[in-house]
Assembly symmetry: C2
Homo-oligomer: 475 residues x 2
């Protein structure tokens, strides 16, 4: 038994340890709306702890030096956290971490939950895969045991995402006294698809999650698909299923988006695009984000509607992600090839039809959002997609929104966005045309409503709502 | 209005026109249980007609020469059909046929209904695809118009498969007096997957099929998934939904399997395998048949159970299919590579662990079925899979059956087969081991029941049952 009344558990923690020039460790505090949402709640609870995995050798070494397991032993961390709450970073061995994180979480569960498999070839669940799965089980057990050791009697534990689907059940067996919440940030899928996973794994994942007292998803749709899996596989409806549609924090986004580096990037972008209409998108280089079909749709738009030539620029910011997986590198290469083809087909001395930036350029991506006349998101499947909400909040142009119906955000934004089937390139091209051609008063009217919806449940109340739901559970 | 009281419509007809040595046309009558099942019903109805597409230039030329549209004008055809029924072969132009058959039926609908897409890359519904779709609509209309012209007042029309999903609605508009049955030989999929297709196409396909008075599938599962699509997309339950689980005709299979060419092939196979236990499989080189994971499972069996070395031979017959599609050629090449790897890893001077035959060798495949101790089918998705039923009927060895749960045949055969998840290579390897190790009396007991189930509804009563169901509909 420990002393923490509130624990957050997630793969990635609120801070990271990086090497600085002289080889020393430096502690960096993570950003992003979600982290700040949880930090706010943790800071309000005395003696709260955030439990996360050490992500590399440097972090593992530091975690192992802390005899209590808590990073506040390290002066630099104590300074960075300023006494708010403590962090326990689990020094899970490198092989186990790689198996759990790359092998299962990102190569198996991410693909299953985003319907990204290529069933003629993938998945293949063989002996090699079983070793990865054993790593995922060990990794989840390490979390469950650390939580059990830190949790005060009757504590509240908030477990995050598909990395930790087995934790609720493991933890409830170790500590039946604690209240367990779990939130899945990805989509879920129908039983027909989820049952591609091995039978025992399907069973263990569903039972693992069902042991949580509150099981949270971004949308009704994912919650219903999870429920359908439980009914078909386990023969019972899940209790404690709840929907918390995360949105964005307008103030925090605005503060960041008007810093000097973003202003500078925006001036550069204005030099490129001039007075032209901008279709903007910002994504990770992630298969599910569907950049390739997005570019195909833009090409079809330019081919079928030459009236937009020289009047529109498509600005695409792609943040590199999962470059260790070959299918991701190949996908990004295909995106670059198609971008060159579009440039070859349409660009003139005066007009660059497409600006594709692949790199880690957060100020540039915020500048693109501020300058977007059309906010464009066409993921094949997406738990929520906060970027579309951020784009709506940050654009200074009363943007029209073209949005895939397969993102959780479609449930939040509804028909005020132009919703598309992400596989239908022609429909997407037509939607881009409709967005470009939308009368100004209609755009203003729609975006007025969209801006409200985009900030309906920002991280702090989103996390608060989950804690409230959990507090009402009798255990 | 025509004079035919009974019409069958299908892409491929009961006969084909081939060139013989001197360049002349020769008429070949098709075989296979399904064709004979429908022929029996057609022969019993005076003036019945089978309407099919001309599949190549030679057939188109012959079809165009028939002024009535009916092939009985050609003496050789009249001889081949021996007055049973007539055949109308539609001389659909080559481009339309290619668009409908390759572009939509085999590259779009087959992939959608077997869940074979690779959603990060495929499908892509763009302008080029729309041209293919227009071809599919024209092809379906050609059938609907030909049927409307041939059908007697109040006639019965049996439309076959995913090539002709739009025909029932088109036909019911032209001829509200006829009774329309449709049978889908493929699986169906949940709405979440079917709705990857463009919205208007989803709508038209479902409405197209719903206009049939009886909509038939091989299993309850596919019928329920079709029903779920109708409810989610059209907001209504389909009427006339029925299940007709086709099985095999034991007598017809036996007659063919004991002809001289098969006996000769069986002697050759015996020389190779000796007294060893044979795991047999027979498939088309089709992505959905999952030969690659089948070989991976066999390799894992040999790696984890060395006691089977030199005691087992895996005999794989693959009939080439859809070689015009590059993904099929690549898949077959991958199968051949893996087969070589398995041979390199395990074969000895005395033992060939794997016999892979890729080619058109029907007698050889029947011989393999007769010699199989284990009948192995692991499709990722399969409307019925008649081969597993044929294997049960033909094997002379009281075979154990390892069968994917994703084939319609799993609903027919149930737990007397060892059912597997086709993506789970380790489970498949374990199932192969269990099949090899199954005590003789258990095998005998199971196969006794399996043999009954395998012949429960052969083609003639299967087709008769559909006609009966249709006769009971009031229109």
């Amino acid at each position: 038994m420990g002393s923490a009344p509130l624990i957050v558990a997630s793969n990635r923690g609120p801070l990271s340890i990086v090497a600085v020039d002289d080889g020393d460790d430096e502690v960096r505090r993570g950003g992003g709306g979600l982290v700040s949402g949880m930090q706010a709640a943790l800071s309000a609870a005395p003696d709260a702890v955030w439990i996360c995995a050490a992500l590399n050798d440097r972090e593992r070494a530091m975690a192992r030096r802390c005899t209590s397991g808590r990073l506040s032993e390290v002066p630099a961390v104590a300074d960075a956290l300023a006494g708010d709450f403590d962090v326990r970073m689990l020094p899970i061995d490198a092989l186990t971490f790689r198996q759990a994180y790359n092998g299962i979480a990102n190569s198996t569960l991410w693909f299953a939950l985003h319907m990204l498999y290529e069933p003629a070839r993938s998945p293949v669940f063989d002996l090699a895969w079983r070793r990865q799965w054993a790593g995922y089980v060990r990794y989840n057990r390490a979390f469950a045991e650390a939580i059990a050791a830190e949790a005060a009697p009757g504590a509240t534990v908030m477990v995050q995402d598909y990395h930790l689907l087995l934790v609720p059940r493991m933890l409830s067996e170790l500590r039946p006294d604690v209240r367990i919440g779990h939130f899945t940030h990805t989509p879920w899928v129908p039983p027909e698809y989820f049952r591609m996973l091995p039978d025992d794994v399907v069973h263990d994942l569903l039972e693992g999650l069902l042991a949580a007292h509150v099981v949270g998803f971004h949308t009704r749709r994912w919650a219903e698909q999870f429920s359908a899996c439980c009914q078909e596989v386990l023969g019972r409806r899940p209790a404690g299923l709840e929907v918390f549609p995360l949105s964005t924090d307008a103030d925090e986004m605005h503060d960041r988006a008007y810093e000097r580096d973003v202003n500078r990037a925006l001036r550069g972008l204005r030099d490129t695009v001039g007075e032209r209409t901008v279709i903007g998108r910002v994504d990770r280089t992630e298969l599910s984000k569907n950049v390739l079909r997005g570019l195909l749709a833009y090409r079809e738009l330019l081919r079928t509607h030459p009236e937009w030539h020289d009047r529109v620029v498509h600005v695409v910011y792609n943040y590199p992600s999962r470059e260790d997986l070959p299918e991701y590198r190949e996908y990004t290469a295909a995106v670059e090839r198609l971008a060159r083809e579009i440039d070859d087909e349409f660009s003139t001395d005066d007009w660059t039809p497409l600006v594709l930036e692949i790199g880690d350029d957060y100020p540039g991506s915020l500048a693109a959002m501020r300058r977007s006349d059309v906010v464009f998101v066409n993921s094949v499947r997406d738990g929520m997609n906060l970027v579309v909400l951020e784009g709506i909040v940050l654009s200074e142009r009363d943007p029209a929104v073209v949005l895939t119906r397969e993102a959780g955000a479609a449930e939040t934004l509804g028909d005020d966005a132009i919703l598309i089937n992400p596989f239908d390139v022609s429909q997407t091209a037509a939607a881009l045309h409709d967005a470009l051609a939308m009368p100004e008063d209609e755009r203003r009217e729609r975006v007025r409503r969209l801006r409200k919806k985009a900030v309906a449940l920002p991280p702090v109340p989103w996390f608060r709502a989950q804690l409230d739901a959990l507090a009402q559970v009798s255990i």
